[in-house]
Amino acid sequence: MREATGTGKSVEEAIEAALVELNINREDADITIVELPSKGLLGILPGKDAVVHIKERFEPALFASEWLEHLMLKMRNNARVGTKFQDGRIELSITGNNMGVLIGRHGQTLDALQYITTLAVNRKTPDFVPVHVDAGGYREKRRQIIERNALAAKQKVISTGRHITLEPMTPAERRLVHMVLGDDPEVSTYSVGEEPARRVVIDLKGE
């Protein structure tokens, strides 16, 4: 968070000086008056300048969506970015024609976009804000598929009595499977293998 102190013959001048130093507009600043100006006494005692302290106001959600929109421009992708601030996290959702390029194989480009956006936003925030990025509804679709597959695999494990190893998934997707089947009385889940081919195993609960 950038801050500056400004001085001037009046409070107005002091604010102006501080704004110029940070090169920001007045509506983007929180202003604290440190000292009011005083005229000297009959030119014998020297007067005192006004002193103000300003802090740059920073809105992470706004910054995040503008940053990602700018990135889309640089990628020459004609996309729109929607923003929601919910449950303490920023949710950015990209829509447009060319979403496959942004999603990539197994969503790895989308994960890269989310990671770099998170770093760019949080470089400026005092407290960490999680940032989620979706494109063309990909994450919601994946969530539904993974939940459905996990429940189908569970039924198969119960009916055959044999464990099932699911396809390789990203950490976030594996977490979803663990959560969906976490409280299940009949099966348990664990992961095997190394990234990026780490897989969830669904097995009957041991005695």
């Binding site: 640089k74 990628m75 990539g104 890269a112």
Partner: protein, 75 residues
């Protein structure tokens, strides 16, 4: 492509003014050389190269509609 990489790098480092991207074009490849202030190296590479890998993925995605392969070197 170079502007894309430069924009991302400048958003990650403490010294944006020291970020420089130079490009070298051959018939099959476009090579982008990214240089940052020495103390910012970790900010564009990351633990186990995680940031560098993400930057490469995004640049490659943006280059899909060109006929060139894109390499990103961090120097």
């Amino acid at each position: 492509m170079d502007e894309l990489l430069e924009f991302m790098a400048k958003s990650l480092v403490d010294n944006p003014d020291a970020v420089k991207v130079t490009k070298k074009i051959t018939s099959s490849d476009l090579t982008l050389a990214l240089s940052v202030a020495p103390e910012d190296m970790g900010k564009v590479i990351g633990k186990r190269g995680r940031i560098a890998k993400a930057l490469r993925l995004i640049v490659s995605a943006a280059a899909l509609d060109t006929d060139k392969r894109v390499n990103v070197d961090i120097i």
